[in-house]
Symmetry: D3
Subunit: 238 residues, 6 copies
Amino acid sequence: MRPSGRDLSEMRPVSIETDVTKHAEGSCMIRVGDTHVLCTASLEERVPPFMKGTGLGWVTAEYGMLPRSTSSRMRREATAGKQGGRTVEIQRLIGRSLRAGVDRVALGERQITVDCDVIQADGGTRCAAITGGWIALRLAVNKLMKAGDVISDPLVDPVAAVSCGIYAGQPVLDLDYPEDSEAGVDGNFIMTGSKRLIEVQMSAEGSTYSREQMNQLMDLAEKGVTELVAAQKAAVNA
Amino acid sequence: MRPSGRDLSEMRPVSIETDVTKHAEGSCMIRVGDTHVLCTASLEERVPPFMKGTGLGWVTAEYGMLPRSTSSRMRREATAGKQGGRTVEIQRLIGRSLRAGVDRVALGERQITVDCDVIQADGGTRCAAITGGWIALRLAVNKLMKAGDVISDPLVDPVAAVSCGIYAGQPVLDLDYPEDSEAGVDGNFIMTGSKRLIEVQMSAEGSTYSREQMNQLMDLAEKGVTELVAAQKAAVNA
Amino acid sequence: MRPSGRDLSEMRPVSIETDVTKHAEGSCMIRVGDTHVLCTASLEERVPPFMKGTGLGWVTAEYGMLPRSTSSRMRREATAGKQGGRTVEIQRLIGRSLRAGVDRVALGERQITVDCDVIQADGGTRCAAITGGWIALRLAVNKLMKAGDVISDPLVDPVAAVSCGIYAGQPVLDLDYPEDSEAGVDGNFIMTGSKRLIEVQMSAEGSTYSREQMNQLMDLAEKGVTELVAAQKAAVNA
Amino acid sequence: MRPSGRDLSEMRPVSIETDVTKHAEGSCMIRVGDTHVLCTASLEERVPPFMKGTGLGWVTAEYGMLPRSTSSRMRREATAGKQGGRTVEIQRLIGRSLRAGVDRVALGERQITVDCDVIQADGGTRCAAITGGWIALRLAVNKLMKAGDVISDPLVDPVAAVSCGIYAGQPVLDLDYPEDSEAGVDGNFIMTGSKRLIEVQMSAEGSTYSREQMNQLMDLAEKGVTELVAAQKAAVNA
Amino acid sequence: MRPSGRDLSEMRPVSIETDVTKHAEGSCMIRVGDTHVLCTASLEERVPPFMKGTGLGWVTAEYGMLPRSTSSRMRREATAGKQGGRTVEIQRLIGRSLRAGVDRVALGERQITVDCDVIQADGGTRCAAITGGWIALRLAVNKLMKAGDVISDPLVDPVAAVSCGIYAGQPVLDLDYPEDSEAGVDGNFIMTGSKRLIEVQMSAEGSTYSREQMNQLMDLAEKGVTELVAAQKAAVNA
Amino acid sequence: MRPSGRDLSEMRPVSIETDVTKHAEGSCMIRVGDTHVLCTASLEERVPPFMKGTGLGWVTAEYGMLPRSTSSRMRREATAGKQGGRTVEIQRLIGRSLRAGVDRVALGERQITVDCDVIQADGGTRCAAITGGWIALRLAVNKLMKAGDVISDPLVDPVAAVSCGIYAGQPVLDLDYPEDSEAGVDGNFIMTGSKRLIEVQMSAEGSTYSREQMNQLMDLAEKGVTELVAAQKAAVNA
């Protein structure tokens, strides 16, 4: 029934390649099916002005798409002169999600910026960005800990994200682009490794859904996150 | 326990004053406690270019805050040269939510723009904007129907929104600003009059929540929306 | 002869409602006929950089129109990415006019920003903004004096403004929108309570006027300001 | 008493050099004392969209200052990313003033853009721009008439402008920069050759003025415009 | 003598991986040492307005750097709100260089946009972008020819680019970042496969050079381009 | 053969008028045929932040064109909201070129900004800007030396620039606009008075050139610069 032939509760293949760029403190290329996102974590020994002297760390994120990551070429946001509404909304979500898994006291007064740049898009880029962004963050924090700059681990539980939706009347896990563009209901579920919820966003566009359907999607999302966290652990320990 | 002395499941007083400006096709001032939002619906007999010739209508929304709607003066976005990320995110949400309750075939090829301008803010402005925005939309559509330009009612079910969150460890309904700024978990629930879900957004900032807590907030939200829809009906029929 | 049936030297009804928003140090809603402007005064204990250490205070103003304050919806300036030329010109005029009535030594090194937001427009918004803006300023200064932060009153004389023009060949007082859009000559007159002049702007668009006509408009303006200052005094003392 | 040693009613020396650039349809360099403005008129056989098919012509203006036209270098507006409020206000004034002297039916459906670029500034740049801008416009219209594209002269009466103000308590004609920066009251007077008024703008900054003083400045302005119009005629006929 | 231990006339290792993204009509990842640039060619069946109806094709380029492609994180240009001067200069150079190798009549009235996004930077990014950009262009044109949309090959000769400079007093080929940041003279040489020159840019910053030195760098550049063109041919034929 | 009737190696007449504006520390109007550029040098006793405390001086440049400097009116960059790519590229070139002739230690920790504004354009504006910009710089530095603020002359050798190109198959010196718009190859050559090279830029647009042709253009350029430097010396010593 799904265009890709996947089962309703089957994720696309996930691969995570770490340390893909020599400059960033942490980096990975995450591939969820044909969605490929390059995630880097950049460490700075300073925090935003409003946080100075608090002793707390900060994690923020930025998101971008290469012009030809999509099926037809998109205008470069630097040319357009500003980030579009969708970009801003996504990068706020990534930042908020990653911060939810960070002990900011343990991190200490420093900032880590996670950049998520979509190299190739086929649906679910924000979820791949969060899942891969956490890897980049984990690797950068590992360096801080190895150097003795951070003593107690500020990342106690992994953070991963998956999308689910109602496609052709059925709840499905991990929407790809052909599904995403048809689905009447579409949700993003961000959780920790222990299935604590960080953010749930379920939107209908020109449609509505019942509380029961919401629960079905939640069940699928838990399954997906379990698999993603396993992939994260394997990548970090590799 | 709540700063306002309200019960955990008690909403702030809601008032809706209709037809508050002489130019707009539909308008209201909605007051949810000390949060006051002016909502206007503007009708245009044209749709965005990508929709021309489809026979479908369009509903879109814009959101703004007056500089001194807040406790300290905010910089005017027109001066800053762009709408901030939060503004863009909110107005996308309002538009999406209102559209979910619109039969775009019945509306016909015309556009209604709902402007939601916050006159005074005390938490929950986006929910008040959606609830009041629907009133403005309803009144504008009424005019279209009265004039015979629209035959079948495109608004079959009201749309309303309420926020809930976990404040001081307890699930509470309709967060005001002092609660909102302290709450670790904060959700916006947009539903129809028949309790169908349109959008659920539950975020934790620097925290997480369980699925059980999510369900408690959902229960509160259903109670709140029931009350808001009653207020909408009273206002429209007044 | 006038579309509204008013006499040539008759103003529209004026009402001023004070303390309309809980956050601002001073505020009012001024209504001049169908022109409604919300004015707030925001106090900050800092001045612009070029004024630091001078001991002098500063008063500045910003002006905006809600998108549907007008008969057809205007584009939001925050969306357009900048304030239009008309907006900038008007807010510079408001600031200059209010400052002319301020003893900046007595005010002391602090800044008051007066925001004038047009809720509904029917001609003469800039004049209503100045007249109402002075009320907001007066109320904010009253708070400073009550608190003992300012000893000698920096507002010695009220500031009010009215428009006059040549409509259908006749000099008329207080142009409303239908008159304003037809008038060949259109002036704004800003004066103090004792009829000292602060600013006179008389423009012809595609037309010219004689010095005698200019004097006739000045006479009308003096009459209008007398009435506005009476309304200001009543509002402040209420 | 004046820093320059001029009499109270004495203008600075005025010179107008025509046809200073080979590309523009009309051009001049106007020098009013040390204020030098290059004015060009550019003809386009099209009008703004809202004017198409009306048969009416349009005259518009733009104003700029070279970065080192002033005593200390100003930031280039193209670098700042926008025209400042003062620039926008001035160019609206120039356009409005020149249009007041144009018979738009006689001009026919075409647009003339008058660019006024300040090469060297010493007070009164907007007045010099209007006076010189009219020359550039006159020369461009002459070409249209010579070519038979325009039959009836659309410029029936010259347009000129001068500033007056109250300096050291005295009404003075044609303020230069040292006077302008000290004057408490400062006005711009735009008139036709037959002394019909087009625009009067008299502002006080941190001060006020009486109606009698206003009349004194008007008298001075009439004297100044008489001299400027004589210089315009001499330049055009040279 | 060189930080990398390379000979004066030794290039860094070059690798070119083709068809790296599924959406673009042509694509490659080019690696010149630690400089990695992703190049995509996007085909559109339309040309810029000023070229419509001429029958000529158009090739244009855009350039960007990922925020953490560099040793310390750069601000994202989309956030800054515009492309910096360096970016604009580079993308104009890339477009001009590629067009010099295109028979625009043979290409026919269509546009190819070449995007060059720097994934990792270590000097010479603009040269790598041109060399890799030509590969992407070649692959896209191959598709057009295979589909019979283009009959005669519009790319008659490859285009490649290399930098040379004077480092520590010696002429060296293919500057890496440590050399580039120290070199007093730095040139970019763009040539065809048959060593015809397309563009030569040799700049000194705070220094000068002789015509003899210029000739030495030209000799080195010819050597480098020979090697790059061989790599291009191998990649395209692979 | 050349549209102007000049010999292949003949420059247009060059005139340099110095001290043309009273505010700038150094200024000139340079005319190369019908290309007229106003150059001013502005001295500031501060350097950019990244240079503070280094003891080194800085020279930077900005470039602009008046809207009607060209044959059809160009849009003002301040209105467009940004400097175009061509402008940015040119002003970077001017700054780099002038700095190459400056002993930044001798200049001391101060900044000189050279503004080059094109009053009338007929090809070769960037070269005229560099040649004239050096005059403005020279005059400003003379003031510094006369005042004893700078002891050792930081300008040891003049800097001048000329364009050459291949027009109708022939190498020609100093392209004017009709030649420039037709030439397949076009180069800018910036040199010192002793013929040391500062920058060479030779571009082909839709064409290529041989190394021999490059040498021919270099020979012409040396001839042109010799003449320009003679004109510079005459102007400075006048």
